[in-house]
Subunit: 232 residues, 2 copies
């Protein structure tokens, strides 16, 4: 395989992962919409995308494996392929989180609607934003954007802890609201998982890009050494 | 690197992963013990092992990366190294689950002790058993043991759903027990995650071993072809 064809295969792999990311992001947005409007038909869509996401995960893993097997990639490409494998697995788990939320919506069907003091759409939009930003960091190979994702994680964690506190109070004060409060809490927990996966993705981008930096530095040092020898 | 030295490096990698697995398993067992006897000093141990687990994860990733970079591994070795990378990440998340449980124990300190209709030690022992078996499958490269782990996951899922049901009832009937019931539920949820990670590990073992089978089949076919040619 020529270098140009290898580069094209890497681009294909990146393209596939972005499709996977689009599916995962959509699954989360649909699951939250299903929760917001209590619509079981949206839950069906979420479950269908989970199947598609699982298929796509295997496809990407296989493509990455083929690239590793076909020739000995350079350090930077190797790190890229490994980052793809790891990000792939995190995106699949974002799909799982979407399915968990959609399962919660199904159990809500038999419950009375309740106004709960927890802003799930806001938490969802923060978590989805983290996924989007971590993928932006991946597309641009930008460690700085990736770093900003890591700091967003604290906000989501804080929201999850606050939800835990307020929902426990609701359960203690209005025991008939316990099932709804518990459901809301489980949805928050799933969103916190989504944020964790975005954090993992951001860390993988940093691992990949920092590897690039190190390699770049090494080649500058090697060039400097050669230059010094030539001057002797 | 000679084939023998490469093989030794693969064995070292396997050894490292087994140490990592031991740490993860111990962390879960300690976390459950901390929950059972409400002992915060055990929580400190869990948090300390989580740090060790995270360090070990990076070390194993680096060793796997070095092996991939050093020479072009054969298909079966490639699959093995990729399985190690994936199992490594699942073990790290088992450590996270242990830390989640230990955080729950900390919040329990301020709560009155309560007898709850949920058998957490039993669920914990099932989940820990799954981790152990998935690692046994990894050590022996045994797809059948791995398969048995996949069927155990249903039992843990069922226990988690049952816990969800009974704890919701407790919250609805005894609202002053809501915090304790919620804590128990969160611990069940973490154990269900541990079981999920064991399932992932088992799947990775199957991926690795089945790859070996396919390769084995291919080489038998190649040998048969050669034999047929020689007989012409």
């Amino acid at each position: 395989m020529t270098r140009i064809r290898f580069q094209r295969s890497l681009d294909d792999l990146k393209e596939k992962l972005l499709v996977m990311a689009g599916l995962a992001e959509q699954a989360i947005q649909r699951a939250i919409e299903a929760y917001r409007v209590r619509d079981l038909s949206i839950c069906d869509l979420v479950n269908r995308s989970e199947v598609a996401i699982n298929r796509m995960e295997r496809e990407i893993d296989q493509a990455a494996l083929d690239l590793l097997a076909m020739e000995q990639p350079m350090a930077i490409d190797l790190r890229f392929i490994l980052a793809v494998i790891k990000i792939n697995s995190d995106l699949e788990r974002v799909g799982d989180a979407a399915k968990s939320i959609s399962n919660r919506v199904r159990t809500m069907e038999s419950m009375a609607q309740a106004e709960l003091p927890v802003d799930i759409p806001r938490m969802a939009s923060l978590a989805a934003n983290m996924v989007r930003k971590s993928l932006q960091a991946f597309i641009d190979g930008d460690a700085e954007i990736a770093q900003s994702v890591l700091s967003m994680d604290d906000a989501v964690d804080a929201m999850n802890r606050a939800a835990h506190r307020t929902m426990t109070e609701v359960m203690a004060n209005d025991s008939h609201l316990a099932p709804q409060a518990l459901n809301a809490l489980m949805v928050c927990r799933s969103l916190e998982r989504v944020a964790d996966h975005a954090t993992n993705i951001a860390e993988d981008v940093i691992f990949w890009v920092k590897g690039a930096d190190v390699r770049h530095k090494a080649s500058i040092e090697a060039a400097a050494k050669t230059a010094a020898k030539l001057q002797q």
